[in-house]
Assembly symmetry: C2
Homo-oligomer: 578 residues x 2
């Protein structure tokens, strides 16, 4: 069997920053050429970043993507990498572009060589669930392209194509000896294992290896976890790149030789097939490269790395130099602060303790202790005089008084942010956001909420893991033990405990997981053994909190594009037209 040396660029593009992303591809091409690769692939929409969201509907952006691709081809040739075939993901269009229907716009992959675009493949399976809205933005393609490189017919596919499967069936019929699948697949717990299972199945059916290439990096609320892997027909992992970091994975892969089939007569009615012959003879390889394998990550380390990368890239890609957050002495802000330290460095993390008359001394001390252990800038700004200024004008009690304290803190953080340019981090966890145990415009203030998708029980697990991890490395444990051991409290009234208002988190979190993540109905929860009154109470809290989360979003729409539901743009968008 011929052997191909393939290079897979697991890179971290920025949505909209075409020049930055093109530079990443050029650097990967130079490294791949130096390594003697026969083919370089880059991630899904590596040139535009992913997801471009409704930028896909702006003609000038689609045109900028198309033009930048052509210029990139010329640059690669000028760099001396012209002979290397390079697969680039980008945004294209054919047919009329409709600004509302998205008609004609394509999630595309181009194969570039010798300064020219050899072909343009359009993604066939468009995901339209969860975070994906690709039916909104793109039209599906129906032509598969194979490139004969070093005597191997290589088929090119994009992301969901490997889950949907049609292009793989067509590739098999067309006698492909290797399928490249370029992805921007967002992280979820346990998803990497599911991906590898699917790729194994496809490789077995194909009778040839598959190169699964994933993007890496945080983009708004998504984080792409990398984990690029090459899998043989027999299910063996031939090489793998690390998770949560950039890497150029170069591997020698034995592939079935092209059978010289009559492509035009393949039997599928689902997609047509084109063959592009670049080099029909097997390539010569003098010295085999030793395949590289990424270490496996344990569950909590994987989650920590996802959160760290998501936060760090949000800060960097939005152009912030420093972050600021309230440090209450509780577990949520403790974990958030350590994540921030790990993501951007302790010298860039500013923390503020805002004690009130209900704050315990141990909270104030624990916060200061954590800041000292982690090397964070820490200041104390008591809120009582400001709270009293409000109360001397308006009479408040109960929840209104509790919320006032949280909002005074929020105003202080935002004021410091406006004055000094820090990004404010909100320390809320998924459990409290789910049930609305948080103050709108108070502790929920901030540009990024690093643990917003982490249930409270997992916050504790992560805290314990991070301390143990430090111990294993011989470092100071970042989180004072008292923060992990004491019962959680918002400290907004005397002797308040979370358990006054909510069931224990060990009971609550699995219910939330079933109701929120699993879309289970109340009857289903009751059938699982949860007590009826509790199910009703929690479901009502979750449904009510949905309202709170979206407050100030709505307002009556009277035109084709209001702000909100019908305008979906990425936050980290560096697209600046010339």
């Amino acid at each position: 069997m011929p052997t191909l040396r393939i290079a897979l660029a697991q890179d971290n593009p920025i949505v909209g920053d075409l020049d930055h992303n093109a530079d990443l591809i050029r650097r990967a091409a130079s490294a791949a050429t130096a390594a003697g690769a026969h083919l370089l692939a880059t991630g899904e929409q590596s040139l535009t970043g992913y997801p471009v969201e409704d930028l896909a509907l702006r003609h000038s952006f689609v045109e900028a993507s198309r033009e930048r691709l052509v210029r990139l081809a010329e640059e690669l040739a000028a760099d001396g990498n012209g002979s290397l075939p390079v697969a680039v993901g980008y945004l294209d269009a054919d047919g009329p572009i409709g600004s509302t229907s998205g008609h004609g716009i394509r999630n595309a992959l181009a194969l570039i060589q010798d300064g020219k675009v050899l072909f343009r493949y359009y993604k066939h399976h468009l995901p339209n669930y969860g975070v994906f809205d690709e039916d909104r933005w793109f039209v599906a393609g129906h032509e598969l392209h194979l490139a004969r490189i070093g005597g191997v017919d290589v088929a090119f596919t994009v992301c969901e194509d490997v889950w949907g499967g049609v292009p793989f069936t067509v590739a098999e019929e067309a006698g492909a000896g290797l399928v490249i699948n370029i992805n921007a697949s967002p992280y979820e717990q346990g998803k990497h294992e599911r991906r590898l299972e699917v790729v194994k199945e496809r490789a077995a059916a194909l009778g040839a290896p598959i190169a699964y290439l994933n993007t890496v990096g945080g983009q708004d609320d998504l984080v792409f976890d990398g984990g690029t892997t090459i899998i043989a027909a027999d299910g063996a992992i031939l090489a793998s790149a690390r998770r949560f970091g950039s890497e150029l994975l170069v591997t020698d892969v034995e592939c079935p030789a092209s059978g010289g089939r009559d492509i035009a007569n393949h039997s599928s009615s689902l997609m047509s097939v084109s063959l592009h012959v670049l080099s029909a003879e097997p390539a010569a390889i003098e010295t085999r490269i030793e395949p590289s394998f990424a270490p496996d990550l344990a569950r909590l380390e994987e989650i920590w790395e996802a959160l760290r990368l998501g936060l760090g890239d949000y800060v960097r890609k939005n152009g912030f130099k420093t972050v600021l957050m309230g440090l209450s002495g509780g577990i949520d802000s403790a974990v958030t602060a350590v994540l921030a330290r790990d993501a951007v460095g302790g010298d860039k993390v500013h923390t503020v303790a805002n004690p009130s008359e209900f704050s315990s001394q141990h909270s104030v001390d624990d916060a200061a202790d954590l800041a000292a252990r982690c090397g964070l800038t820490h200041i104390v700004e008591p809120i009582q005089p400001i709270v009293d200024a409000y109360l001397s004008q308006i009479s408040l009690s109960g929840l209104a008084l509790e919320n006032l304290q949280a909002r005074v803190r929020g105003v202080i953080w935002m004021a410091l942010s406006n004055q000094h340019g820090h990004l404010v981090l909100a320390a809320g966890n998924k459990s409290e956001y789910a049930v609305g145990y948080t103050t709108l415009y108070g502790d929920s203030c901030g540009g990024f909420a690093p643990i917003k998708d982490v249930p409270k029980t997992l916050v504790y697990e992560l805290a314990t893991w991070r301390n143990e991890h430090a111990k294993r490395l011989g470092e100071v444990e970042p989180i004072p033990e008292n923060i992990i051991l004491k019962p959680p409290s918002a400290e907004l009234r005397p002797d308040q405990k979370d358990s006054d208002s909510l069931p224990e988190y060990e009971l609550l979190d699995p219910m939330l997981l079933a109701y929120v993540d699993g879309d289970a109905g109340r009857e289903e929860l009751i059938a699982r053994g949860y007590e009826v009154d509790l199910v009703n109470r929690i479901a009502n809290l979750v449904d009510g909190a949905e309202y709170k989360r979206r407050q100030s979003a709505p307002g009556t729409k009277i035109s084709s594009k209001s702000f909100g539901r019908d305008r979906r743009l990425p936050i980290t968008n560096r697209f600046r037209e010339k």
Copy 2:
């Protein structure tokens, strides 16, 4: 030609409140029976409300919709309206329901008679642009149903079907004498006229009348404007219901008689056709009903009514009794306050003036004058002592100091809201939201922003129109003239004017319309004659403001359903499982 007496229920359902919505249908059926109607149609998803958003993915909600439909059929029979065929819009499913792919879930219409469901039609054209995500929630249907009623073959279609057209082509081939098209079509300026043009075209092609039935009422940020209309084959309007209000439109319509065609042999491969014979003989009508026609609305009255209805329904459907807002003496809060008065009544509108050291006396006076003219509860809460309390602890200047003032106001409004249960209204307009000329967690605080989609120039037009409208009715003009005449200012620093930071709104608004609503690129704006530096400045502001609007939304996602992009639930959701 036979004559059918058709009743079209232009009603105002609430998303998720199945019992409330079923009651609306039962009341319409009783009125239709009393009027001697041969057929009653209700709106798209009249039983569930529209849009149900990701509730469509919750099995228990789909099941509740299906069960409620069956029970509604029994109730209609028990009410003595069993012989009346009733078309009901609801949520259905066939095939496996996938929680992520939405597979098998249908946007459905059932025809009910004699306590039974005669057939279930599944919407064929699923809109997936703008505010619509129907590819995410539903699977398209491919079977058209005709019911022979009083010797007329009546075809049933849903909303986008009339824009897409396939079911209408199939209805024509099948010899339909009338097509019912039930809608939940959201208001946009000028859209009603476009709808009528499309219906006219379809009626001409069909050679038979079309009954276009639209929902009415506010639902989150959408407002359905009604305007139900019956159009004959020659384009004549046979009857029309009013805009922005509920109405049962009962009309005698002459329709081509059923040709007794062999439906099974219709030529379309796009949809199959079923015929259900309810009554083959033409119905007897003793006395013809005089057709009723709705008055036309002038442009500004139409917009005002849309904003009033959207606001009023948001308040009512979310269970609020009163609203509260800041009244600055400026044009935006003035128009918002009058809208609120018109929507919920002046006795339910609480306004607060929060003067600072930069507030002019005329602002304070104008606010009090407006409140008095409109019968609003009005209080004055100066913010300077509270601002000073912050400043005695932290040192602020420039924008940070301006934002602090706006945030102190926001905290006061939210505190009063928490204490007394008012819904806070934000008074921001589309121009200032677009360019970010607003304070996050400050003046943007609130549960609903009535004029968030109204550009500043239109705010002025509406103010002038509303005063003239009052004069025509012999009422007091609600808005003091000085508020309309004085130059706009945020009054957050000495002698501040909007024009210090922004171009004149007469110049800005058309640019925003092109860039935001029209997705025009910068080059296109420059080609339209806008100055290069101005285009770049405004486009940068808009792109930056997108970030501000979404602040505190993001946070790294690590599970299948985080809060944010991949969980889309209606705010006004009354679905309470038993």
